[in-house]
Amino acid sequence: MLSSRRSMKKMHSIGNDIIDLEHIDKTRTKDSRFYLKIISESEYALFQKQNIPLEDFLWLLWSIKESVYKCQKRILPGLLFSPLKIDVHQLIAPNNFRKLEFTNDSYEQTGFYAPSCWCGEIYSGSEKFYSRSFIDPRFIFTVAGTENDLEDICWGIRYIDDPDQDHQSRDVRDFTLKNLQKLFSCDDMLKIEKNVAGVPMLLKNLSVMDIPVSFSHHYYMVSYSFLNSKKDTLPA
């Protein structure tokens, strides 16, 4: 894993991850050989303070770490994912959980109602990140960023009917673009492509936009997030 010494004080990035809980191996998840490759002893101590099953805790931390990795990789393209080098040092459980109500297999929102989320504080190297996660009976979803409020983040989750990765990729792009086009009142000038590091980039008339976008897919679930710090104005 490359060093993250480069300052990310003004890092303009986000990352998100989704886990389809109907397609995890619960037996294997409970095997210490498995989970000790993902969480540290200090993170296991966090689990002992929470009243949730180990498999939910483990995949919650996985989704947080993967989201932080995606957030960092936009700035450090050569970064490799090393779950044990990303330290979830604080995790606050929701105290007023509201189940996400899906419409036509989709859910979209801007920002987060913190009392309804799992709120995390994470370190990767010397950089600090913040996360918001939902644990639903069907999925775990996380968004991570560098600002604690995460209020400028637009995000969405969708059930899909085909787990083939080509289908997942097409679906999550269409899902994201529909929201972007609606938000910015534009038609088909927007496009999303991955750069050589595999990081999604939003393009307008083939120019890269300063709007960080992140995708995730796992079996029958896809999700997106993007940072709308320009407050609904599409940069020229």
Partner: protein, 86 residues
Amino acid sequence: MNRHEALNEFKKVLAPYTLHKEKLDTIGDDTDLVKDLQINSANLVDIIIDAENNYHIEIDNDSVEKMYNVGSCLDVILKKINEKNA
């Protein structure tokens, strides 16, 4: 076990985690597990555990982070086999 034998065994480890099994016939050192074989990153630890079981080795956490493509996985696996047999 030589590298060719280790590669053939590694294809069996990867098979359950890719929907594109035909691509396993042409994999080489530079094949990226996520980008080229379209293996979901959530299955990467499964692959490490299956490799430990198949080759009867233990892969430490420092080695795990080096395993991102076929070549780097085979490097770690063969190193661990050699250490076990030394």
